[in-house]
């Protein structure tokens, strides 16, 4: 028995695809939920303004004594170690104003931002001599910012739960045991499941992308091919993560619990709904473990800021390494039958 026989892999891959395509209920549900979610989001969050003014301060910490402006109330002062990045945020309206308090004080403002206009007035009250730098750029609407998050979230659920429960069901009803009696190897079986889910996830994500982009009038700033490559790697990493759990266990409760244990921290900490900027360092540090965090960071960079391959290379590498590691672990710990 060879380790990898493509004919066997294709047989299982094809049968799994048929099984999914015939299952109309699941298929419609897979497409409908995220679509409804985005439409809902654009209604709920579309027009809402953030309650605070947000001002970036160049440097690693904000010292109130350094400048009188820093004592203003109802303004959130956030330290910005990377000046270029911070200037970009002003352009994108995610900072209302950026100030460098080292004398002579300089500040960056986007004339297109209404909140920037007001914060500038506040600043000039305390320091008439601050030097003005102008930045231009369109605001990133919340719904635009949310869009990559929704794509990523849908991808995460599709990958983790899609393979997890399918393999578990096969094990429970004895189908896996039957396959074990054939020359099929664990690696061939798992690869077929991964590929089938990958194709499905990419098709669904593509439909979602173009559907939602049309609804909310969105255009990706960067390369669509790069974005597609990123989504493939992200999906691979998360399908393989799902397999590490489905590889071994026979209890739906246990697998369900473990999958929830994985998905909820990612839901909250990977930056689907809100940016982690300004959250405590340990939260951001934990978030770096999740593949979804890397996928979303890279997706937002490409979709919103037009980042190219070099800018997201380290995220791509992280996703590729985790995909390989998870798949290897899954094949190693795979069980054909119930304990």
């Amino acid at each position: 028995m060879s380790f990898l026989n493509l004919k066997r892999l294709v047989a299982v891959f094809h049968a799994r695809n048929l099984e999914f395509v015939r299952d109309r209920g699941t298929m419609i549900f897979t497409l409908l939920v995220p679509l409804l979610m985005v439409v809902g989001m654009s209604f709920v969050f579309g027009g809402r303004e953030r309650p605070l003014f947000k001002v970036g301060v160049v440097g690693t910490l904000v010292e109130k004594k350094a400048h009188p402006f820093l004592s203003e109330r109802y303004v959130d002062f956030v330290p910005m170690p990377d000046e270029a990045d911070a200037v970009h945020k002003v352009a994108r309206h995610s900072l209302d104003l950026l100030i460098d308090v080292r004398p002579p004080a300089r500040y960056w403002i986007n004339p297109g931002s209404p909140k920037g206009y007001i914060v500038e007035k506040l600043l000039l009250e305390t320091d008439r001599n601050a030097h003005r730098e102008q930045v231009s750029g369109d605001a990133v609407r919340y719904v635009d910012w949310l869009f990559p998050g929704v794509l990523g979230m849908n991808l995460m659920f599709s990958c983790l739960f899609g393979v997890g429960y399918v393999v578990l069901r096969y094990r429970k009803n004895g189908f896996l045991k039957r396959l074990h009696a054939t020359p099929l190897s664990a690696f061939e079986f798992l690869s077929a499941q991964v590929l089938s889910r990958l194709v499905l996830t990419i098709v669904v994500t593509t439909i979602l992308y173009f559907g939602i982009a049309a609804v909310i009038d969105f255009h990706t700033a960067g390369s669509l091919a790069l974005l597609a490559g990123l989504m493939v790697l992200g999906a691979l990493s998360m399908i393989a993560l799902g397999l590490t759990i489905a590889a071994r266990f026979s209890s739906e409760e246990l697998v369900g619990g473990l999958l929830n244990l994985l998905t909820w921290p990612m839901m909250l900490l990977s930056g689907i709904w809100f940016s982690l900027e300004g959250s405590p360092p340990w939260v951001r540090w934990i978030a770096q473990i999740f593949p979804l965090t890397h996928l979303l960071d890279a997706a937002r960079a490409v979709m919103l800021d037009g980042a190219g391959l070099p800018a997201i290379a380290h995220q791509l590498v992280y996703l590729a390494i985790t995909a390989i590691a998870f798949l290897a672990f899954g094949a190693w710990s795979f069980r054909w039958r119930m304990e």
Binding site: A15, R16, P183
Partner: protein, 295 residues
């Protein structure tokens, strides 16, 4: 005897609470239909699953064509488990095509469909098959690689009598293709009809082995007399007869029919419902273990 196609030696399978198989040795010659008989819990399924390479034994060896089970065995064996679910939403033909794709050699899907009389069902969803139809599909799947060795684990359990009879006919037509078959069953008539050789298992051990007719001849040179239990007077139990009590009847084994009948009549045992018949495997099992097979 020709060299065995499949051989097991000193098989033991222990579970934390029980010993399911306790020192079983068997040899299955090529071209033979070999039956593993015994009541539920005798260790038949555990034994056959070890022979199939699905379960690993605690100790003991299994060899196929003189070698340990390996890739060649997987390529050449066909297996019908007691219970197997197939993928949802796939048709009979698609399921067969999937399994056919897993083997290098074998019959074409069309040939299999014809062999197992699935022509009218080939477009049907797996889940919409009756018990007998499903079992026929699973047998067809076990045959996709045109196996040299076919395992059938209780193939007709749960089927109605008509479906069971159809299934037997199917297995006989496969036997005619000179396949080696290993079969487990707790239906004695199934074993008598299909098997050339049987091994009777009880409590994880083999208690008798050989061709069915020879086993019967060895254990019964006699005929069996059956009487309903409620018509058998208490006093008659003291008579010098070889009695076995089953749940609803009393069985008397004898090689002197005249003498036994005279004894019974003298004891005024009512003989209206008396039946005289040659012994079958069911009786053999009763004789060997002192209990009924389907108790």
């Amino acid at each position: 005897m020709s060299a065995a196609l499949l051989e097991v030696r000193n098989l033991v399978k222990k579970y934390p609470a029980t010993i399911a198989v306790d020192g079983v040795s068997l040899a299955v010659p090529e071209g033979v239909c070999f039956g593993l008989l015994g009541p539920n819990g005798a260790g038949k399924t555990t034994t056959i699953e070890i022979m199939e390479g699905i379960l690993s034994p605690t100790s003991g060896e299994v060899s196929y064509r003189g070698e340990p089970l390996g890739p060649r065995f997987k390529e050449e064996a066909g297996i019908l488990f007691q219970k197997t679910a197939l993928q949802d939403f796939l048709t009979v033909r698609q399921s067969l095509a999937m399994f056919r794709g897993l083997y290098d050699r074998g019959l074409s899907v069309d040939e299999i469909i014809k062999l197992c009389a699935l022509e009218k069902l080939e477009g049907r969803d797996n889940r919409k098959l009756s018990g007998g139809q499903q079992q026929r599909l699973l047998l067809a799947i076990a045959l996709v690689n045109d196996p040299s060795l076919l395992f059938l684990d209780e193939p007709t359990t749960g089927l109605d009598p008509q479906a069971r009879r159809n299934f037997w006919e199917l297995i006989q037509s496969i036997k005619a293709r000179n396949k080696t078959i290993v079969l487990t069953t707790h239906y004695m008539e199934e074993a008598e009809l299909l098997c050339d050789e049987i091994a009777i298992m009880d409590k994880g051990r083999i208690i008798a082995q050989g061709p069915p007719r020879r086993l019967l001849r060895e254990h019964f040179a006699e005929v069996l007399l059956e009487l309903p239990k409620q018509e058998f007077p208490e006093a008659a139990r003291a008579l010098p007869l070889r009695l076995i009590e089953a749940s609803d009847r009393v069985e008397i084994t004898t090689d002197d029919l005249d003498g036994t009948l005279r004894t019974l009549m003298d004891a005024r045992v009512p003989l209206t419902d008396l039946r005289i018949r040659p012994p079958n495997l069911e009786d053999l099992f009763l004789e060997l273990t002192g209990k009924e097979l389907r108790a």
